[in-house]
Amino acid sequence: MTILWTDALIFFLVLMMLVLGFYLRGKEHLRRPIGKVTASRVGMMSLVILVFFGMIGLLDSIHFKPANDKSNEIISLLDYWTTSIRQQQEKTYSSPFAAYSYSKENITTDDGRQLWTYPRLKYGGAHLKNPDIKKTHDIMQKAAIGFTKGAGLFAFFFILLLSFFKERKQTILKGTAAKPVWMIIFIIVSGSYMLIDLSGFYHVLGTDKVGEDVFYQAVKSIRTGLVIGSLTTLIMLPLAIIFGIMAGFFRGWVDDVIQYIYTTLNSIPGVLLIAASILMVQVYMANNEDQFTSLVVRADMRLLFLCLILGVTSWTGLCRLLRAETLKLREMEYVQAAQALGVRRRIILMRHILPNVMHIILISVVLDFSSLVLAEAVLSYINIGVDPTTYSWGNMINSARLEMAREPIVWWSLMASFLFMFTLVLAANIFADTVRDAFDPRRADND
């Protein structure tokens, strides 16, 4: 069990979420918005999807050195469970569900003749005697089996659940969003089970240039996306909250200083700032290599730093919002009443200001998430994104660009990254909208 920096932070984040949830449990003023969120169908569906992605991400964040092999390679739980897919590497490109390689090769047939043709894949559809005829049927069959297995699994747990909470059956089944939610869960469970089943025999999304399974890459990329989206906010929040509130509440020179800081940071083109800092990390790592013996660690360091710098560049927006809001709040009569009552400033901050800006924070966090995931892709394109050895959609897209020029065109790598990224971002966006509509008072009353 080795804990990388990002892992630690991720689990810290999860912990904080739990704590926060526990603390806010049953707070009256939250009940209405939360109720609103739970009531919205799309919102809940997207939430389910997010959670699903999140779980994959978590699985991928538990790293350890496998006991059996002597190499000091660090792998995650996810890697461990998908070892088969991970190691079933072809030689080069192969299209989804292909049994043959995608590019011709010289093959010496048994009778010693040299042939220029498409060779069979080492793993993809290797179990088939005669792919050309049997393949489709085989795929269908395997898919059906996998799906039913998944469905069975789902059904089992569903019934288990019901039997556990007999009395709360109503809430489980009758909630406005209950039906679609269960539906989507069903689809996810059985769908993913099906995919897992299939990728035992085929490369579901084909393979890339070095014959690595694209499906595996896409799944691995999930963690990167999530880390960027979540850790960045984790880093930027303290800055934004503390500075924003202080600037708004104390005004005067405090305000001036803080404004100065974030105007300065804002005025520097973000990309350039990021570029500079990424180079800085590389230098740092180059200078003391001994700490970064394993590729994973190096990549992780860079990822962390990317989040860090993204956080530094992106806190200003929220900070400004909070400042404005605090300026409003501090004029509120209940704050003045508190002052009249002789309540100390920091207590006023904690008790009156902070809770009343929470919704802004929440909203901006969920809104930022998706944009950050998108940003990662762009940055990777300019080679100042995540480490090239980390799996990330950005990197996938980046290499896929060149494949677009191939004839016949290699589309699956691009498509895979597109699909996964799109699903995540879409879910995030929809969920963000739901949250905003629920928590933003202005919207709350005008509908």
Binding site: K70, V210, L295, T389, N395, S399, E407
Partner: protein, 715 residues
């Protein structure tokens, strides 16, 4: 509601008619102005703007592609003949070489190298060679230069060289060649070969000290002991000892003539501020001259009106005549009026434009390889039907360069003269399956290296005799890599059974240093790791930027690295010196990156260095190869094989890896190009129309909804 739908219909019909009318022969995607269509203009590209176009500084392929056409050294490589042979370019004839001993007494050609103290090259120039027209030469009635002290208001009206209305030329003299040599020595210039030349040319070192403080423009008058002005058309260069390769240097732009006027002209601050410098606007004698240099967009070469008469070669290799390479024999050069280099960063657009006929030639990115080339049964390659259909021609040539995986010999683990390390190196050499590497990453565009020398370099051996016996066996007519078992056996002998160090019991971890960090490289790096894993070795990649990489190489912190070398000139010396102890990177900051040091090898090298080609030189070369193969400081990687595609209208093509001034020989059939482009670029419109219709389909119900809302009452 009805009205609107009618409107949309009307609109559609309009568009359709318009489209159909203009459809037949319009080329919407033509990136060039139509006026150029008929001319014999060659379109090429550059991905990164060349850093220097000053022949004294420039030292990289992409720069040579330009200045090779502009500057002319005294000698050049024959365009057609193989093996590469030198011929006079601006010189009247090949140089007269004479040897002297320490006392300055002339010696016969037969004496052996060690008692030769000096060699003299007497170079005789053609008469009547003139510089390209250039404002630097422009004079007024009184015969003093117009533009050598530009006034402010003159400067204001000037943004590029074109803005100078007056331009003039003058004949080239030996002085100009000598002046260029002097420039090489000037510290301000940072000529990359300065240090090298100081080792060879007599008196250059002293000269450079002498002028270190002086302005560039004032050095013309100061003499160099080793370079002598004989007369208008003759000058003499004296070098230390015997150094036959020196003639090759004389065929490189470093030794092309340079007019002192140019330096005076360009040294004006006003121009420098406007990026008008010798580095960007060359002044040469060659067939072409740089008329537009906008490194942010395009560079344009145009025929040099003052170009001295030059003619297409009339004899070549056997088979050239059949290939139609001699049809233009004796024709006056150059054929192409204008060459346009366009900034093209991305490979995809370039490739697509090439297919659309907007570029005349193209390399093959590994991604578009399958599209272009297929291999016939016997490993030979040919174009795909698609390409053949377009009439595209394919040319291949093995580059005179080598890529090798170097072991830092100073490193205790992999380096050193110990048997243990040597075995380890050999094991790795076997495990690294370069055939697969070539297949995967280079689509078979390369040959796995058997030794230091690439094909086409004197001393290269083909067939069974040429294989590296420690890595390959000779089986059914070709070199076959030894099986991995052999490697494992070696590992055991070395004491790394299964990759476990028998001393420490730890898994063996090796470090691979590279500057590569692109996403494509990731695949490559993974592949390396896989190769090492075959032996149970764990390879740790230490990727960093190029600077850090070089830093490491200099300080010798690297363990394993991959590097390449591109021949400066076709001589084995230019490769073996990469392993010569005297060039050790860490010790002497030389090019011997592996820091390999082997007394015997060095001795042989010093011997071989200054011999003419001949049987005994060959013998020495064989010995050296053998030593290197045995010690395996390098893991001989591969010699890349250049594939290039040319459109059917592009003629007189023969790959020449040494010459860089081949543009003048090439020919373009403009008319053919025009009609083919038309044929290939018919724009497709129907999707647009479909789109418009769909949009309308969305809008109409919207309007309905609005009207319905307006109509509704409260009841």
């Amino acid at each position: 509601m009805k009205r609107t739908s009618q409107k949309t219909c009307l609109l559609l019909t309009l568009i359709v008619s318009l489209v159909l009318s203009g459809c037949d022969d319009l080329q919407l995607n033509n990136p060039y102005s139509d006026s150029e269509a008929g001319q014999t203009v060659l379109y090429s590209s550059f991905t990164e703007r060349p850093k220097h176009l000053d022949p004294a500084i420039s030292y990289s392929a992409n720069e040579y592609a330009l200045i090779g056409q502009i500057y002319e050294p005294p000698f050049q490589y024959h365009y057609l003949k193989r093996p590469y042979t030198l011929e006079p370019l601006t010189a009247e004839k090949m140089p007269d070489i004479s040897y002297f001993d320490a006392e300055g007494k002339q010696l016969s050609d037969k004496v052996d190298a060690e008692n030769i103290a000096f060699t003299e090259y007497l170079i005789t120039l053609q008469q009547g060679i003139k510089f390209q027209p250039h404002p630097a030469f422009a004079k007024d009635k009184q015969g003093n230069f117009l533009f050598h002290q530009l006034s402010q208001q003159q400067l204001d009206s000037i943004n590029s060289l074109v803005d100078f209305k007056v331009a003039d030329s003058r004949e080239v003299t030996a002085e100009d060649y000598i002046y260029q040599i002097k420039r090489l020595a000037h510290p301000k210039i940072h000529s990359p070969v300065a240090e090298l030349m100081k080792q060879h040319i007599v008196g250059l070192t002293e000269f450079s000290k002498q002028i270190a403080k002086k302005k560039l423009v004032n050095i013309a008058s100061i003499p160099i002991s080793g370079v002598e002005f004989v007369n208008q058309y003759q000058y003499r260069i004296r070098i230390k000892g015997k150094y036959p390769q020196f003639i090759y240097w004389l065929a490189m732009p470093f030794f092309s003539p340079m007019a002192w006027e140019a330096d005076v002209f360009y040294s004006q601050q006003g121009l420098i501020d406007k990026n008008i410098t010798l580095d960007w606007y060359p002044v040469g004698t060659g067939p072409y001259m740089l008329v537009e240099n906008n490194p942010n967009r395009r560079m344009v070469l145009e025929k040099n009106p003052e170009f001295h008469p030059a003619y297409y070669p009339s004899e070549g290799e056997e088979g050239d005549r059949e290939r139609g390479l001699l049809e233009d024999a004796g024709e006056k050069l150059p054929f192409i009026d204008k060459v346009v280099y366009i900034l093209e960063k991305e490979t995809i657009p370039y490739w697509n434009k090439f297919l659309q006929g907007y570029y005349d030639a193209s390399g093959i990115a590994s991604d578009s390889f399958d599209q272009a080339v297929q291999f016939t049964g016997q490993g030979g390659e040919e174009l795909t039907p698609l390409m053949k259909g377009k009439g595209i021609q394919l040319q291949t040539a093995v580059a005179t360069s080598t890529f090798y995986m170097g072991f830092n010999m100073l490193n205790p683990e992999v380096g050193g003269d110990s048997e243990r390390a040597r075995k380890l190196r050999r094991a790795i050499a076997i495990a690294m399956d370069y055939e697969e590497h070539i297949a995967i990453f280079m689509n078979g565009r390369g040959v796995s290296a058997q030794g230091v020398l690439p094909p086409g370099i004197y001393g290269y051996q083909t067939g069974q005799a040429g294989i590296n016996p420690y890595v390959y066996d000779w089986g059914n007519g070709q070199a076959q890599r030894k099986s991995i078992e052999v490697a494992k056996q070696l590992m055991i002998e070395a004491g790394y059974a299964e990759g476990i160090d028998n001393k420490t019991g730890e898994a063996l971890i090796l470090y691979f240093d590279t500057a590569a960090s692109g996403p494509d490289d990731r695949a490559r790096l993974n592949w390396y790791r896989k190769q090492f894993e075959k032996l149970g070795i764990q390879l740790v990649i230490r990727a960093t930027d190029y600077n850090r990489f070089q830093q490491k190489m200099r300080s010798g912190n690297a363990q394993i690295f991959i590097w390449g070398w591109n021949a400066d000139y076709p001589d084995p010396e230019n490769f073996f010196f990469l392993l010569y102890g005297g060039h050790g990177k860490v010790k002497y900051g030389g090019e011997n990156a592996a820091n390999y040091q082997n007394a015997e090898f060095d001795r042989l090298f010093e011997q071989m260095r200054n011999m003419e080609n001949g049987s005994e030189r060959l013998k020495i070369i064989r010995k050296m190869e053998a030593i290197v193969r045995y010690d395996a400081p390098w893991l001989f990687g591969l010699h890349p094989k250049n594939f290039s595609l040319y459109h059917s209208w592009y003629q007189n093509l023969k790959p020449n890896l040494m010459a860089n001034n081949t543009m003048k020989y090439k020919r373009i059939d403009a008319l053919k190009r025009v009609e083919l482009r038309k044929k290939w670029n018919r724009p497709v419109f129907w999707p647009l129309i479909v789109l418009v219709i769909m949009f309308g389909a969305i809008l109409i119900p919207a309007i309905n909804a609005y009207r319905r809302r307006a109509k509704e009452t409260m009841q």
